[in-house]
C-alpha cells in the first residue's frame, strides 16, 4: 500500500514538471503594431542638435510592438501634421499667441525620406532628420516637427501612438536650450560713467546664457534684470548682448578671444582688455595641492553699454563663471 502511494506521488510530481514545460513562450504575446516613439504627451524631446557641427542629425523613431521579432517586413510612411502642435499651444498657452510653439522652419531641416520599412527581425526604424541653420532660431521660442503615420502606406499601426511632436533643442560648448544655463558673476563691477552719479555696483547674481550659433551666446548686459521670463521678450531684446567666441589667444591656449556685439537695440562698445577682464572665454582649471581640479567655463568681459542714447554708459568688468565636469560632457 505504501509503495502504491509513493508511486502515485511520483507520477503526480512528473505531471507537474511536464505541465510547466507545456507553456508556449515561442508564440507572439501581443500584436505587431507600428507606433511612433514619444512620451505620454506624444512629445519626443530626448535629442539635442549640436551647433558645433555643420549639420547634425536627429531621428524620428518608428517602433514595432510585440513580444517577439516579427518574421515579416512592415511598411511605415509618415506625413506632416499639425493637430498635436495646435493642441500643445492651446493647452499650454491658450490665448497667449506670442508664446505659441512654432514649426521648425523648412530651411533648418531636411528629411531624405518619409517612407521606410521595419525589416523582419527588427523592432524599429529610424527616420534621419538633418538639421542645419539652427543659428537662425530664437533661443526663446519652442520649435517642433509634427509628423503622423500615413495610414494609406503603413501596415497595421497603433492609432493612439500614430503622431509625434519632435522637440528641437540646440546646444553649443557654452550653453543649451534643453535646460536653463546660468553663469555666476564673481569679482565683477558695473560702473556708471557719470561724474555726477558715479555709481559702482558689484553684481553677485547669475546671468542666464542662451546658445545662438556654433560660437555665440546671448546674455543680459551688466546686471540688467530679465524679470519674468514669460513676458520678457522686449526686455531681452533691449538689454541683451551677443558674445561671439573666436580664436585661441596666443597667451593661453585655454582661452579664446571674444567679440561683444549688440543682440538687438542695445548700444554696446567692447573695451580693451584690462587686468583679468581680458575679453576671453577661458577654461579655467583650478587645481588643489592634492591633485584634484575644479573646472570652470568663464566669460571674462570688459565693455560698456547703455539702453538709451541719453543715458550715461555703464562700464562692465565681469567674470561670469560656471562650474562643469569635463567627464560629464563626454557622456
Amino acid at each position: 500500500m505504501k509503495n502504491n502511494i509513493k508511486i502515485i506521488y511520483c507520477i503526480l510530481l512528473g505531471f507537474a514538471v511536464v505541465a510547466c514545460d507545456s507553456y508556449d513562450f515561442e508564440q507572439e504575446q501581443y500584436r505587431n503594431e507600428i507606433n511612433l516613439l514619444s512620451n505620454s504627451q506624444m512629445i519626443y524631446d530626448r535629442q539635442v542638435a549640436d551647433l558645433s557641427k555643420d549639420r547634425d542629425t536627429i531621428y524620428l523613431v518608428a517602433g514595432l510592438s510585440g513580444t517577439r521579432n516579427s518574421d515579416q517586413n512592415f511598411r511605415v510612411a509618415l506625413m506632416e501634421a499639425d493637430s498635436l502642435i495646435q493642441a500643445y499651444n492651446k493647452s499650454n498657452f491658450d490665448i497667449e499667441i506670442d508664446r505659441y510653439a512654432r514649426f521648425l522652419p523648412e530651411e533648418c531641416y531636411t528629411i531624405p525620406s518619409l517612407e521606410a520599412v521595419i525589416p523582419a527581425g527588427e523592432t524599429q526604424v529610424k527616420f534621419p532628420i538633418y538639421l542645419n541653420n539652427l543659428d537662425k532660431l530664437s533661443p526663446d521660442s519652442i520649435y517642433f516637427l509634427n509628423y503622423k503615420i500615413d495610414p494609406t502606406k503603413t501596415d497595421v499601426f497603433n492609432p493612439r501612438k500614430d503622431e509625434v511632436l519632435l522637440r528641437i533643442f540646440k546646444t553649443n560648448e557654452y550653453s543649451t536650450t534643453q535646460r536653463n544655463v546660468f553663469y555666476n558673476y564673481t569679482s565683477s563691477f558695473v560702473t556708471t560713467l557719470d561724474l555726477n552719479n558715479p555709481l559702482i555696483r558689484r553684481p553677485t547674481s547669475s546671468n542666464q546664457v542662451f546658445p545662438l550659433g556654433e560660437n555665440s551666446v546671448r546674455m543680459l548686459a551688466g546686471d540688467e534684470e530679465m524679470g519674468e521670463y514669460k513676458t520678457a521678450l522686449n526686455r531681452i531684446n533691449e538689454r541683451s548682448i551677443k558674445v561671439v567666441m573666436g580664436e585661441q589667444t596666443s597667451k593661453n591656449p585655454m582661452a579664446r578671444h571674444v567679440t561683444i556685439e549688440p543682440y538687438k537695440t542695445i548700444d554696446v562698445v567692447q573695451l580693451t582688455p584690462t587686468d583679468i577682464y581680458d575679453n576671453t572665454f577661458l577654461i579655467n582649471i583650478i587645481s588643489t595641492p592634492d591633485g584634484r581640479s575644479t573646472y570652470y567655463k568663464e566669460f571674462r568681459l570688459h565693455y560698456k553699454y547703455r539702453l538709451r542714447e541719453t543715458d550715461p554708459y555703464r562700464e562692465v568688468k565681469g567674470i561670469l563663471r560656471m562650474e562643469y565636469s569635463p567627464r560629464t560632457d563626454l557622456l
Binding site: L193, D194, L195, P198, S250, K251, N252, P253, M254, T272, P273, T274, D275, D278, I285, S287, K304, P312, Y313, E315
Partner: protein
C-alpha cells in the same frame, strides 16, 4: 546502519578536503600591474626664459613607450617622450607677454598635467619718460597739448574715459630719428563750467594689454564775474501793479520779490527781460524763488537778441528747475555764436499752470566770463 554512518562520514571528510584545497591561492600565475607615475617634483610648474629652453619631466612606468602618450595644448611648446622622461622644448618668445601651456602625460584613464610658462620680452611704454605721474594743467580756455610716447610695442590704444569727453586725440606723428617714439597731440575744449575737470589718458598696446602708461590732464574751471545789473536794465511784459515791483530782484533781500500779473491777463507768456549795456558772448544766470509755494517757473525758454527785434532761443529748460520756497537755480554756461545784448527769461509754465500765467522770483543775477 553503522556502515552507513562511517560511509557518510568519509564522504563528508573528502568533500571538506576538496573545498579547503580549492581555496588555495594561485601563486604560480604572474600578474603584472601596469603603472605610470610622474613624480611630484616633475609636476611642479615649469618656467622657461624668453629665449626658450628645455625642461624634463621624469616618468616612472613599466608601460611600453608606445602605449603611453604625451601632448602639449600650445603650438609653441613641443614635447618629446623617451623611456622614463618627457622633454618640453620652447623656442624664443617673440611677444611681449608671458605665455602658458599645459602638458599632458597619460596612460589609459590616468593623466598628469604640467603647467608651463614662458616669459615674454620686456615691454616699455613711457609718457614723457614716465609710466605714471605726468600731469598737464590748463586754463578753462580751449587748448592743445602733446606728449612723447616711447614704446617698443605697437601703440594702438589711447583710452580717454567717457567722463573726460572734453579731450580728444588730435594727431599721432613720428619723431624723426627715433623708431620707438611718437608724438601724440590732444585737443582740449573750453571748460564752460566753474569746476575743475580731470581726464586720465591711458596708453595701451595689443602686444601686452597689461603694460600701460598714463598721464593726467587738469583743466581749470571758467572764472565768471557777476554782471552789475541795474533796475533800468530790467523790464517785463506783465508787471503786477498790486505787488512785487521788478526792482526787488536786485535788492539782495530774499524776503522781497518780483511778481508778474495776476490781477489782469495778457495773451502771451510772461517774461523778464534784461537789456545789457554791452553785448556778451555767453552767460550764466542765477535766481532765487520767492519764499512761498506758488508761481515757480518749471518750463522756461531763454531767448536772446542782438537788436531787440530778432530773437534766438538759447536754451529751453523743462526739467531741473526748483519749485521749493526760497530755492535757487544756477544755469550752465549758455552761449550762441553771435554775442547778444538782450536776454529774455520767458515762463512757459509754472507749478501752478501753463502760460500765460503769473510767476514770481526773489532775486536774479547774471554772470559772464572775466
Amino acid at each position: 546502519m553503522r556502515k552507513n554512518i562511517v560511509l557518510f562520514g568519509l564522504i563528508g571528510i573528502l568533500i571538506s578536503a576538496l573545498g579547503v584545497n580549492s581555496c588555495a591561492p594561485d601563486y604560480q600565475t604572474d600578474f603584472e600591474v601596469k603603472t605610470l607615475i610622474v613624480p611630484d617634483k616633475s609636476l611642479a610648474p615649469v618656467f622657461l626664459p624668453v629665449e626658450g629652453g628645455e625642461s624634463v619631466a621624469n616618468v616612472e612606468t613599466n608601460v611600453a613607450l608606445a602605449d603611453w602618450s604625451t601632448s602639449s595644448n600650445a603650438a609653441w611648446l613641443s614635447v618629446d617622450k623617451k623611456e622614463g622622461r618627457v622633454t618640453m622644448t620652447a623656442e624664443n618668445n617673440d611677444t611681449f607677454a608671458p605665455r602658458l601651456a599645459r602638458v599632458t602625460i597619460e596612460y589609459g584613464h590616468q593623466a598628469y598635467y604640467i603647467n608651463v610658462t614662458q616669459a615674454g620680452n620686456s615691454p616699455y611704454l613711457l609718457v614723457d619718460g614716465e609710466r605714471t605721474g605726468v600731469v598737464k594743467s590748463f586754463t578753462a580756455a580751449e587748448a592743445t597739448t602733446s606728449v612723447v610716447v616711447k614704446s617698443n610695442m605697437a601703440l594702438d590704444h589711447i583710452l580717454i574715459p567717457d567722463t573726460a569727453d572734453f579731450i580728444s586725440v588730435d594727431a599721432i606723428t613720428d619723431i624723426p630719428g627715433s623708431t620707438d617714439e611718437k608724438m601724440v597731440s590732444f585737443k582740449i575744449s573750453q571748460n564752460f563750467g566753474r569746476n575743475v575737470r580731470y581726464g586720465g589718458i591711458t596708453f595701451q598696446s595689443s602686444d601686452n594689454y597689461d603694460h600701460t602708461a598714463s598721464f593726467l590732464i587738469i583743466q581749470q574751471g571758467m572764472v565768471l564775474a557777476e554782471l552789475p545789473l541795474r533796475v533800468d536794465m530790467l523790464s517785463t511784459n506783465a508787471q503786477e501793479p498790486n505787488e512785487g515791483p521788478i526792482a526787488n530782484l536786485l535788492d539782495g533781500n530774499p524776503g522781497s520779490f518780483f511778481h508778474s500779473a495776476w490781477s489782469y491777463s495778457i495773451s502771451e507768456a510772461h517774461y523778464l527781460q534784461v537789456t545789457l549795456d554791452d553785448p556778451i558772448a555767453g552767460c550764466v544766470f542765477w535766481y532765487q524763488n520767492r519764499n512761498n509755494s506758488n508761481g515757480k517757473p518749471t518750463d522756461v525758454s531763454i531767448m536772446v537778441s542782438t537788436d531787440g527785434e530778432t530773437w534766438s532761443e538759447m536754451v529751453h529748460l523743462t526739467s531741473g528747475l526748483p519749485t521749493g520756497a526760497g530755492s535757487t537755480y544756477e544755469s550752465a554756461f549758455l552761449m550762441l555764436e553771435e554775442p547778444f545784448k538782450y536776454f529774455r527769461f520767458i515762463v512757459n509754465g509754472t507749478n501752478g499752470g501753463t502760460a500765460p500765467t503769473y510767476f514770481n522770483m526773489a532775486e536774479f543775477r547774471m554772470y559772464a566770463p572775466e
